[in-house]
Subunit: 475 residues, 2 copies
Amino acid sequence: MTDPFVVVGADAAGLSAASKFRREAPDRDVVVFEKGQWISYAYCGMPYFIEGRIERLSDLLSLSPSEVDERGIDLRRGHEVVAVDPDARTVTAETADGDTVTQAYTDLLVATGGRATTGPFDVRGPDGAFTLHSMDTAAAIDAYIASPEAYDPARADVDAVDRERVEYNAALPAPETAAIVGGGYVGVEMAEALSGRGLDVHLFQRSGHLLPPFGEAVGDRVEATIAENGVTVHTNTPVERLVGDGRIEAVAFGGEELPVDMAIVGVGIRPNTELLDGTDVELGDGGALSTDEYGRTSLPDVYAAGDCATATHAVTGTETWVPLGLTANRAGRAVGATVAGEPSPVGEIAGTAVVKAFEMEAGRAGLVEDEAAIDAGFDPVRETVTAGSRSGYYPGAAPTDVTLVADRDTGRLIGGSIAGPDRAAVRINTLATALEADMTVPGVERLDLAYAPPFSPVWDPILVAAKVLNGTLAE
Amino acid sequence: MTDPFVVVGADAAGLSAASKFRREAPDRDVVVFEKGQWISYAYCGMPYFIEGRIERLSDLLSLSPSEVDERGIDLRRGHEVVAVDPDARTVTAETADGDTVTQAYTDLLVATGGRATTGPFDVRGPDGAFTLHSMDTAAAIDAYIASPEAYDPARADVDAVDRERVEYNAALPAPETAAIVGGGYVGVEMAEALSGRGLDVHLFQRSGHLLPPFGEAVGDRVEATIAENGVTVHTNTPVERLVGDGRIEAVAFGGEELPVDMAIVGVGIRPNTELLDGTDVELGDGGALSTDEYGRTSLPDVYAAGDCATATHAVTGTETWVPLGLTANRAGRAVGATVAGEPSPVGEIAGTAVVKAFEMEAGRAGLVEDEAAIDAGFDPVRETVTAGSRSGYYPGAAPTDVTLVADRDTGRLIGGSIAGPDRAAVRINTLATALEADMTVPGVERLDLAYAPPFSPVWDPILVAAKVLNGTLAE
């Protein structure tokens, strides 16, 4: 009997791999170790749960342990893999009870994800200070926001939840003013969520604009929308520390203190790679596990996928660390197929991302910031246009900002962003596809994009941007 | 002094060409002949004017004659070009007063558009029978629908309008029941428009499903939506004739007569090429003027653009006649640049089209129908999936149907369609871009498309369809 395919981590990448593997190789075994109790949950849905748009924590789960079992996957929760021996082809796991298990593998997938970094902030200290990177935190934040008398325990309706933590937070008085530290995805989404729960929200961003990877045009537009919706945005304002012992009392910045009774720290995430610390595995961009086009690490028969792994960038062709949901699912699925005997590339990433901020929709793909473009050896030229989302005479037409970035010498499209309230987000897929196809900006200008008055003007905003950028490139 | 660039037709293609030409060659002259009084109007906006979503007919105009004049374009309305002498390089125009003008040209652009065909139906006969292909008809239909006491003459607020016809129709009693003959774009959009005006609407389609170029999956979905909104859809029902003398009384089909007091015939359009009848110009697909990648016809220095001209299809590489708004604008603009001395390809078409039917949005691109694919030498394989438009847990997620069509031997994507109520239409641009880039279905499956719960599930519906079709292709 051969050893099983072993997977570490039971979220998007890990369970996609295990499921695909079992479908393609039903006679072979797969063991999935998960250090905690949660599996297969939608990280990206947490802000919407906290906002109250989503009624139950269980709505964010896609697969239950019994469904995983039905797929013939040997799922072992409460097993933290603490060591890998690539020569012996074994992993060592510790259980919550302190037991140690050694498991041999034929192939190993490390799908350990990432974790929120907290910078200098002590979010484990005062009550009311949180990062958002687990279902337990989401449940705790939700409970903390509710007044003790109004909290509905049915919201956290999953056995795996840290019930004690939820109850503790539910019992605390409801906060009125929140500081969000960090104006990335989490910050922007949480600003909407906390605002939706009636809090007076302050959003702090260290640099000059929100959502840095989306570029300045989008950041400014999103900032304006958030401000219109009553959130106070503080750009160019690095928060220095959280103030308060028992409960958070304030955030401190530039010699000032703003009194708050809640703080969310969303300053970034980092890949979980400690598992391989004892090996000579190669690390890549962002300290993530370096992988090739099939998701292979530098260790024999050891794969990595998801937020702990790099991927090949469609524009630069180099390994890049962009931890996002589709990348994890897609890479996991491909690794599952490859290990089952059908070599499947994990696919390139274009760094495509979209975000909602109240009524504003924004998207980005490729190399949007000059620095990233220059680092990759391009000479970036950019234009931003504002064009209508529909024919001007059709009700609901809304200004849509499109930024396109090209390489000056070759005219190649290397990145772009979009912001607008009317169906702007999904339009970014056009740019993601053009980037994947290595199109030039003249090529983009000649795309036969859809026109009908309710959905687009004759010249789609992307075509308008391409026309303008081509004019600049021709100068 | 050199002769001018002469343009025939002052709508999308003609004025785009003249405007671009003047910008690029400000020292040279351009003369635009237009047989009627209307210029630069949005054909695609007419149904929404009739529906009442758009308040004034003038809202559908993009350029006024004085704005055209300001661009340095010599616009001559009321001049019908009746002959072209390609050897002498002259055109002959007749004015409404019966005068004849001969004009020499260096280069000539034929941008005469298309006109509604009426099949066997006499729409000039009874009152209440119309086709929709001019601003005058749009105004007349709008006036006819209103009751005489309720009609607001300010709706038709453009000097060029056929005031007599509007007043005549406004004075007729308001219709209650309408038949729409033809279930293409015009039929579907007019069903919504007339329904919105309170009429009892019957939509007749000769074949088995609406919107044939969108394929059966979309046609059926749109039919269901239209029916849910109270329109009676008669598929497989060729209307034989309009019944009535003074005023329309019924439509006749299959031995039956359905009493109506209004009928819209939308059975297709044909290219206006008669102008070149005396020459040996080559005609192509659909009887349109055959053009090359720069919009050149077979006659020296004679270009054609817009609804009267063919264009090169991105998938088949052959000349195809797909009369749509962007194609006209884009080709006109390119011809203007080329004639000004900057050779500019008119671009390929993917046959990208979108349509709104009440809350349903639909799109198509490439070769969707088997017949078209087989005619082009492909062996079509197709899959249709229904996937969510957002994460399942996020409010507003709606079933989105995606059909992808591939060539069996090569796996190349050759067409696709989308239908759904939640932002489905603009998603077709992803497929249009993939088609332009000659992507395979495995390539589409690996696209890095956007994911965020409010906008898309982890696997965009297009990726889901690609996964399924790849499974079929691998069988």
